[in-house]
Subunit: 213 residues, 4 copies
């Protein structure tokens, strides 16, 4: 009997989380189609196949929905980042894996990144500006981690002697530039080729002992 109750509560809670997720996914789709200001709560509700009021049982405002969409993407990204990038021993490989991850990830959420870049003034220039509170922590963690990789690379002699934090900023700037560009124009080359090109261009530029071009 307690078991059944437990299972029941478990199911209810599971359903609630499922609905929450469905709403967030619907919200992401609508934000992608219409942008933050263009999206209406009404439309998100229709997309999620819930009534408007229901959304407000999960999120207290449209703004919070937006924030959570970003948060979800950021969390997912960080989860993979920590597993696929931070586990690498050699800095060069870590940066290579990060380039790949960032580009692949972007491909999956391309539409939303477009929204993100456009929504908040300053966001393309300074993503941390447009982020919801919870997200800023994640972003800082990410920046620190990447800086750590560069630091290690400089120390162990893999990379030229450069300020690791400057390297991180350049890295982010470059990736963002490409991501922003490809969010507007359909890329002409397949993802793999683009990844390799950026790896070459970036890592090649900072790697110690490279031959002169």
């Amino acid at each position: 009997m307690p078991d059944e109750v437990a299972r029941k509560l478990g199911r209810k809670e599971r359903e609630r989380q499922a609905h929450r997720r469905e709403i967030l996914e619907a919200a992401e789709r609508v934000f992608v189609r219409k942008g933050y200001h263009g999206a209406t709560v009404e439309e998100i509700a229709q997309e999620a196949e819930f009534a408007v009021g229901t959304l407000y049982n999960f999120f207290k405002s449209k703004e919070q929905m937006y924030a959570e969409v970003i948060l979800k993407i950021a969390e997912d990204f960080l989860y993979v980042f920590e597993r696929q990038v931070l586990t690498r021993d050699r800095p060069q490989e870590a940066i290579g894996a990060l380039i790949e991850l960032r580009l692949r990830y972007f491909d999956d959420h391309r539409g939303f990144f477009r929204v993100f870049f456009e929504t908040s003034p300053g966001s393309r220039i300074d993503p941390s500006r447009a982020l919801p509170r919870d997200c800023v922590g994640l972003y800082d963690r990410y920046v620190e981690a990447v800086t750590g990789i560069f630091d290690q690379g400089v120390k162990d002699g893999s990379f030229d002697t450069l300020d690791p934090f400057y390297l991180t900023m350049c890295f982010e700037g470059i990736i963002n530039a490409f991501v922003a560009y490809w969010s507007r124009r359909e890329p002409t080359e397949p993802l793999d080729v683009r990844i390799e090109k950026i790896k070459d261009a970036f890592i090649g530029r900072i790697r110690v002992g490279r031959a002169h071009a």
Copy 2:
């Protein structure tokens, strides 16, 4: 008599243009402060010291005001760009001058810039923020011109053999990253030093024949 009429019309026309300009400048300030959606026509009117109705004698919509603001900023930037950067013969110097221009320009018109680079390439998501046709042309011209400089540099052997367009993307990304960073934290070094550092870091990385670090 005809003379007087001519003078009068001339004055009237001059005044009209002056008002138009004042309105655009007010609009720019407000868009910079509030972003496109946050700005209200009412606020722009107050800033311009005109009545709302008057604005609609010059522009058919808020959207058009926005488009013209962007256009003006882009034109101003491009005007200086063509004179101070494109006139250089040697690619390395041109890029150096561009770095200087972008950083100086940013320091003087940081709000300015935000609007320009934010909106830049026109959105498919939020039509109201899409760049006006004319402006997209300007932006493309800028990108092409910069790409041209890199192209020349690669061809004449100043720079390593890299895809010039990729170089442009990287260049923009890096500049944006620094600009973003300095817009959050007051720079510790004077502008001149910062300019030199970036010149070294960026140009140094792509210049042929550089010594190993």
Copy 3:
């Protein structure tokens, strides 16, 4: 076996009544805090530690809850009124006891009182705040009873010859005025003293044969 059923039903029924009472008490607290329109069923449910749906198993609407709260308060007050005031033989003493009751009651249950005396006679304006039938009867009974006391006092020569209904109105007005005053400024004198002062001031004014001041 039938016994056990009977006991069970008895317990169930007792529990049901207990829950009903708990809900009403919670509702009263919330109505006192927020007023009718400010109170939400959600908040009442939380206060009562039941789910919203449960409340609707006992009352068919928020309006009915409100009506029952009023009714309960009115009944409680009237219960004491009839025992402590109406039992007095001499009008002067009855009015004195009523003064004491109203002031003490107010001190103990000031939120309480507000609901009763505020809402009192039912609104033609805001149907949702109209008193339930039963309650209007109670209030009228109260007014009638007080008027009756004055009537008796006038007739038996205790009070000056005045319209008893007018006296009731004056009495209510004066009590309310003091109560209001003391609800703003902490009284400087203890309750007993205040009670005596009002007795003197009010009864003294209407008592036959008083000395000139």
Copy 4:
């Protein structure tokens, strides 16, 4: 020419004020019909024969409309009060005139008083609590003035020796009680009779040297 401009501006301003007044009057009517919570801005707009948005050019919220309705009534009242009551030399006459004014005034705005008493909890007990900011000052002025009258009456021997402030509170309480009562049940006696009765009952009770009843 400047004259014409002046007249024009004057007319515009006059019209604006007229519209403001019309809206307030419409609002009063709707509040009277439906109560504060029952009234919708939409309905007020229809009653005033303006679009909804127009109301918001004059008042920033429904709440402010309500506050201004009260303020207008209070100001009008004070205006007459100062002319018809404060000008009397003898305290007894002044109080008599005040009773008449309060009752007559109430007759004109009866509906609104009903709303007022019902809208804010505690308003019948302590009207000053429910008043908008601007109004509180007016109310204080009124209370002071009335207290002054009683003070003068006590000093010159017209009234019994009683605390003038207590007298004011009793006076207000009594008037409010009647007003509240008659806002619910149609009075059975004509206004004149009621005025005289209250004059007798109240002034008669506090006048020095009255004969025993």
